[in-house]
Amino acid sequence: MIPLNYILFLSTALFFIGMYGLFTRRNMITMLMSVELILNSVNINFIAFNKYLYPEKLEGLFFSLFIIAIAAAEAAVAIAIIINLYRNIRSIDVEAADDMKF
């Protein structure tokens, strides 16, 4: 069986790749994808801990299912927002959408 550490390495790596993408990309779609990466890294954590530490319980599984559902809804909403934004300012660059400041 693969040791838990390897899986945690994988999820940490995924999390920080997602983080990096979120902070550096200017394209909103890419940022959304980065957010998905972060969410999936959390999912992996849940599943791994459930499997390795409490194999008789199901909470981790349910949480990850729950997160997948949330992620789907969030993607739908985010894409709707992005489309509206594009209609208004003809761009999906986050730097372009900086009207809401002081």
Partner: protein
């Protein structure tokens, strides 16, 4: 008296208030043309109810009657202030308040009727009648109050409606100034009233029940049954409280030296002057002192002050009235003089066993009739001549016969010629003065001569002086009837056995011993002398008045300029108060108070300018802050807290 529910008497002030609400809310849009009629009908109902209640109350009164006692209409605890003090809303019916109710409703009804004719065609009629309704309501509430704080509330409402009505013609700068002056002067006096009320309320603590009280009857009972305790500047605290209460009354009743607002208040419509500034509101101070009369009877020093304040006002106002040329101003000063009479009659309290009390209230009652009549006649004349100045009038006896007769009746009454109403009440006052102090009696006697003189100066200047010209001018029904009713009142109300009704009902051991005998001769003689001098000077147009004025030029100018009291007030306020207190206060306000606030605003603006860059509008910056925050919290919880 048969016990019955008196709750319906709450309608007496309630109906005029209803009129105020209806006319105030809907008058301008829906009932513009009938606003006068609506108000008059409501006040008529209120008057009818007041007269019925008074008849019911007084019909059983007599020296042997012990059944008539004050009636509580309905007691509501309005503001419970802790365990032992609460403010009540209650209407109290006793002989004093019923007498005032009758005066207020009857005069108010007459003025409402008269106004329908007088104010015809006025664009702001609904507002006018709404204000009149508000005034009637508050005045009735004031006289029916059984709680000092409740009375104070109505007292201020009365001042407010008086302000509104003086300034009714708000496009005239003089009217606006007069309204402001009246409000500020009476407000200043009311400060004393409020402090006085609080002192009395607090003093009741030393009494039988060991708790402060605002209820008038309880207060009077408690404070007359305790020895005064607590001194301030050598006088008992109760005396200070009573003096401050009297100060409030003096402001409202235009007593020297707080009288300066009353002559200016004549800028209001003439019917308003008749109602508020002659018959009802200005006697509120007399009413207030009468309400607390047993207390004043015990506080000898305060009574002396009241006596002299009243006598000085009476004399001063009478002298000024002899020189004024605006007929409404003459009447205003005569009002002030007559209120001075009432006040010094009340001030004789320690020397006369209730005699001054009944005399003052009797004079209040009769004065309301003849002074309202004088003002309404003046209204007719002004309506006709379109001027307030005496020189524009003269020889009007043929043109306005009804006003002529009514004016003559009222003048005879105020001069104290038998058998008109003023004679009886003035006799009683002079009797009380005689029993109290000879100096006061002398002043009163001299003033009554002056009264006769200036009233007949007015009468002869308006109706004689010049040859009678013009033809008969017919008055509208609504204007002539009030004159006739008030004239009948002026002739007959003197015959009411007043002191019996007023005192025995509540204080059976009081002895007002009224008796009119030989003592009636000097006042009548001196009044006749005054009339004779006035007739000699003003019966026909001649140069005698000018010559006489020339011969006593110094005194004449002094009186014509109202003894420079207005100028003195202006000097004190403008030069002393404004410069010594107003300017430093303004400086502190502008530089320190405003400076502090402006400093706060500037500091806030600076800080926000420096930190507003954080709010960049870039999503990823926010994400960074969020991430750093989370990381910081994580560090905090993992390494520091646990």
């Amino acid at each position: 008296m048969i016990s019955r529910n008196y709750l319906s008497t709450a309608l007496i002030p309630g109906l005029p208030f209803l009129g105020f609400v209806i006319l105030g809310l809907f008058g301008r849009k829906y009932i513009k043309r009938f606003s006068g009629g609506t108000a008059a009908i409501l006040v008529f109902l209120s008057t009818a109810m007041a007269l019925l209640t008074a008849w019911d109350y007084f019909s059983g009164v007599g020296p042997t009657d012990t059944n008539s006692h004050p009636i509580d209409v309905g007691d509501i605890t309005w503001l419970p202030l802790g365990s032992n003090l609460s403010v009540h809303m209650n209407f109290l019916l006793d002989s004093l308040s019923l007498m005032m109710i009758v005066v207020v409703t009857v005069i108010s009804l007459m003025v409402h009727l008269f106004s329908i004719g007088y104010m015809k065609g006025e664009a702001r009629n609904p507002a006018y009648y709404a204000f009149l309704g508000l005034f009637t309501f508050s005045m009735l509430g004031l006289v029916m109050s059984s709680d000092l704080l409740q009375m104070y509330i109505f007292w201020e409402l009365v001042g407010c409606s008086s302000y509104l009505l003086i300034g009714f013609y708000y496009d005239r700068p003089t009217a606006v100034a007069a309204a402001k002056k009246a409000f500020i002067v009476t407000r200043f006096a009311d400060l004393g009233l409020l402090i006085g009320i609080l002192i009395l309320c607090y003093q009741a603590r030393t009494g039988e029940y060991h708790k402060p009280t605002l209820d008038i009857r309880e207060l009077v009972y408690v404070l007359t049954h305790t020895t005064p305790s607590g001194l301030f500047l050598g006088f008992p605290l109760i005396s200070w409280g009573l003096l401050l209460v009297f100060m409030g009354g003096a402001g409202k009743s235009a007593l020297f030296p707080l009288h300066i607002w009353l002559p200016d208040a004549m800028e209001g419509p003439t019917p308003v002057s008749a109602l508020i500034h002659a018959a009802t509101m200005v006697v509120a101070g007399v009413f207030l002192v009468a309400r607390l009369y047993p207390l004043y009877a015990e506080a000898t020093d305060v009574s002396r002050i009241i006596e002299y304040a009243g006598a000085i006002s009476a004399l001063l106002a009478a002298i000024i009235a002899c020189t004024q040329t605006d007929i409404k101003r003459v009447l205003a000063y005569s009002t002030m003089s007559q209120i001075g009479y009432m006040m010094f009659a009340l001030g004789t309290a320690p020397d006369t066993n209730w005699q001054g009390y009944t005399a003052a209230l009797f004079h209040l009652f009769t004065h309301a009739f003849f002074k309202a009549l004088l003002f309404l006649c003046a209204g007719v004349i002004i309506h006709f001549v379109h001027s307030n100045e005496m020189k524009d009038m003269g020889g009007m006896r043929k043109m306005l016969p009804l006003a002529h007769v009514c004016f003559l009746v009222a003048c005879l009454a105020i001069a104290g010629i038998p058998p008109f109403a003023g004679f009886f009440s003035k006799e009683e006052i002079l009797l009380a003065a005689w029993n109290s102090s000879k100096l006061i009696y002398a002043i009163a006697l001299f003033t009554s001569g002056l009264t006769a003189f200036y009233m007949f100066r007015l009468y002869f200047s308006i109706f004689w002086n010049k040859p009678a010209t013009g033809h008969r001018h017919k008055l509208p029904f609504v204007m002539s009837r009030p004159l006739i009713i008030l004239a009948l009142g002026t002739v007959f109300v003197g015959f009411i056995p007043f002191s019996r009704l007023m005192v025995y009902a509540q204080y059976p051991d009081a002895d007002p011993h009224e008796s009119i005998g030989l003592n009636a001769i000097p006042p009548v003689l001196i009044a006749l002398l005054g009339i004779a001098i006035a007739a000699r000077l003003y019966y026909k147009e001649n140069d005698r008045p000018a010559k006489w004025a020339q011969s006593i030029r110094g005194v004449y100018t002094l009186a014509y300029r109202k003894f420079y009291i207005d100028e003195l007030y202006l000097f004190v306020t403008k030069k002393i108060i404004f410069n010594l207190m107003g300017r430093p206060a303004a400086w502190i306000d502008r530089h320190i108070v405003d400076g502090f606030m402006n400093g706060l605003a500037i500091a806030t603006a600076r800080i926000s300018a420096t930190i507003k860059g954080i709010q960049s509008g870039k999503v990823q910056d926010y994400a960074w802050f969020f991430f750093i925050g989370i990381a910081g919290l994580a560090v905090l919880f993992i390494y520091i807290v646990t």
